[in-house]
C-alpha cells in the first residue's frame, strides 16, 4: 500500500506545474442530467446529437442537443463550481461539471433568422430562412418548430398544402415575448425565488406589503432571463413594450433596479459550450505571430548595411576616442 501512495504523491507532483486552469479535454467522461424523453426517444438507431448552432444573443456557435427524432432542441447548461470532482463507482472524474439539458423553445433560435429575412420584406419558407452557411446544422431546426408556433412571431401565407411561407412580424413577436416574460415571472413567484437586487439570501427576502412592486421586480428579473436569448435591440424593445404596461399601473421606482447583478445571481449556472474551441485558435495565432517576427528579421537582413556603424560602437567609450 505504501508503494501505491508514493506513486500517487509522485503523480500529484508531476501534475503540479500545470496551470490552474484545468483542461476539460483531459477527462474523457462527462456527467449529464438528461431530460428523460431524450433517453427514451431512441428509435431506429437514431441518436441524440450534439450540434453547434448560432446563439441568438452571442451570435457565435454554441453546442445544443437535438433529440434523436430531431423534433426538440435542448440547451446545455453547465453547473460549475470551484473545487469540484466526481467519484463514480470506483473511479475518479476530475471534471467537476454537470451539464443540465433543459428544453429550449426553438423559436428563440429561429427568431434571429426570421428577423434577418424580414429585412428583405419577402415571404420565405422556413428552409430558406434558417439557411446558415457557417452552421450547417441549422437546417435541423426546421423539424423542431411547428408552423403554428412560427406564426407567433411571423405572418404566414399558405401557398399550397405543403408549402408555407413566413415573414417577420414585430408586434406578434413582442407580444409573444411578453407572454414568455409573464410565464417566467409567474414561475419565479411560485418558486419564491428571491429577485430583489441586493439580497441573494432567501431568508432576507420578505414579500412585503407592496405586491405590485414585487410583481414588477419579478417581471424585471424575468426580462433579464429572457434577454439571454434576445439580441440587444430586441431586449430594449421588449423592455419598453412591457415597461409601458407597468407605468400605466404604477409609476414605480423599481424599474431603476439594476439588472446585471440580478443576472449574475441567477447564473450560478453558466451557459457554456461543451468544449473550448478558442484554445486551438489561440495556438494558431501565436504561431503566425512568431513567423511574422522572423519574416521581419529576414527583411532586415536584406537591407544594405554598408556605411552603417555597428550599434555596439555607440556604447563603447574607447572607439569614440
Amino acid at each position: 500500500m505504501s508503494s501505491s501512495t508514493r506513486k500517487s504523491s509522485r503523480k500529484s507532483q508531476e501534475e503540479k506545474p500545470r496551470p490552474e486552469k484545468r483542461d476539460i479535454k483531459n477527462s474523457d467522461r462527462w456527467i449529464f442530467l438528461m431530460k428523460n424523453e431524450i433517453i427514451t426517444c431512441n428509435e431506429e438507431g437514431l441518436k441524440p446529437t450534439l450540434c453547434k448552432l448560432r446563439h441568438p444573443r452571442l451570435k457565435t456557435g454554441v453546442m445544443y442537443l437535438l433529440s434523436a427524432d430531431c423534433t426538440s432542441v435542448y440547451e446545455l447548461t453547465a453547473f460549475k463550481e470551484k473545487f469540484r470532482s466526481w467519484f463514480i463507482g470506483n473511479s475518479v472524474l476530475s471534471n467537476g461539471q454537470m451539464y443540465i439539458t433543459t428544453p429550449l423553445d426553438p423559436l428563440f433560435l429561429i427568431l434571429p433568422y426570421i428577423i434577418n429575412s424580414g429585412e428583405t420584406n419577402r415571404f420565405m419558407t422556413l428552409e430558406q430562412i434558417v439557411l446558415d452557411e457557417e452552421f450547417p446544422d441549422s437546417h435541423k431546426l426546421v423539424t423542431c418548430c411547428n408552423p403554428e408556433q412560427l406564426q407567433l412571431v411571423s405572418d404566414c401565407k399558405e401557398i399550397d398544402d405543403d408549402l408555407k411561407v413566413f415573414k417577420f412580424n414585430k408586434e406578434k413577436t413582442l407580444s409573444w415575448l411578453k407572454k414568455k416574460t409573464e410565464a417566467v415571472a409567474e414561475a419565479l413567484e411560485m418558486k419564491k425565488i428571491p429577485v430583489s437586487s441586493g439580497s441573494s439570501h432567501s431568508s432576507i427576502f420578505i414579500p412585503s406589503g407592496n405586491a405590485e412592486i414585487c410583481k414588477d421586480s419579478y417581471m424585471i428579473f424575468a426580462h433579464g432571463i429572457l434577454s439571454e436569448y434576445l439580441s440587444l435591440d430586441l431586449e430594449a424593445e421588449l423592455k419598453t413594450f412591457i415597461g409601458l404596461n407597468t407605468t400605466n399601473e404604477t409609476p414605480s421606482p423599481t424599474s431603476v433596479t439594476d439588472e446585471p447583478p440580478n443576472k449574475k445571481q441567477k447564473l450560478t449556472t453558466v451557459v457554456a459550450p461543451l468544449e473550448d474551441y478558442t484554445q486551438g485558435k489561440d495556438l494558431k495565432k501565436d504561431k503566425s505571430k512568431t513567423s511574422k517576427v522572423s519574416a521581419a528579421q529576414k527583411r532586415l537582413d536584406k537591407v544594405d548595411k554598408t556605411g552603417m556603424k555597428s550599434m555596439l560602437s555607440f556604447f563603447s567609450p574607447k572607439s569614440t576616442k
Binding site: D28, R29, N36, T49, W86, F87, S91, I100
Partner: protein, 156 residues
Amino acid sequence: MSTTIDVSVVPTRQNSHSEKCHFIPCDINFDGEANVSDFFNTTISRSTEAEQQIETETLTAVFRGRPLKGIEISIPSGYTGIVVKDPVTRTTDDEDRCIIATHSFDRFNFWNLDKVPTSDDSLQKGFQWVDIASALHRPIVDDTTEDLSQRSIKGQ
C-alpha cells in the same frame, strides 16, 4: 463535425447501486480507477437530523483527513443523470464522434467541506433553473385556446 450520444445502453438502473456517484468538494488532478469503495465509502456514516419537523439524513465522511458533510440529492423529476464516455481518444476536433452513456443514476451524494449542504448551495439553486427553463421554453399556446383554458380554471 457532429457528436452523437448513444443512450441505448442506459435505461436499466439496476447497476446504479454499484456505481454510486459522489460530488466531491475538491479538485482532483486525476482521472481513472481509484479504490473509492474501500477508502472512501467505508468512512461514510449516516445520521438523521430533525430540523423544523423535517427529517433530513445527513452524511459524514472523511477524505484525506478532511471532514465532509453531505446529503443525498435526488435529481429533479423528469431527469436522469448519466455518465457519458468518449470511447476513442481524439486527435482532432473535426472527427465525427459517438460518445456512449455508460451508466445512469437518479440520486447522488453531494458533499461539502465541513458544512451541511442546504438549499442555499449553488447546486440546489442551479436545479431551480430546471423549473424556470421549463416555464420559459414551454411553447406559448395561441391566444384563443389559452383564454379558453383560463376560463375553465376560473370556472372551478
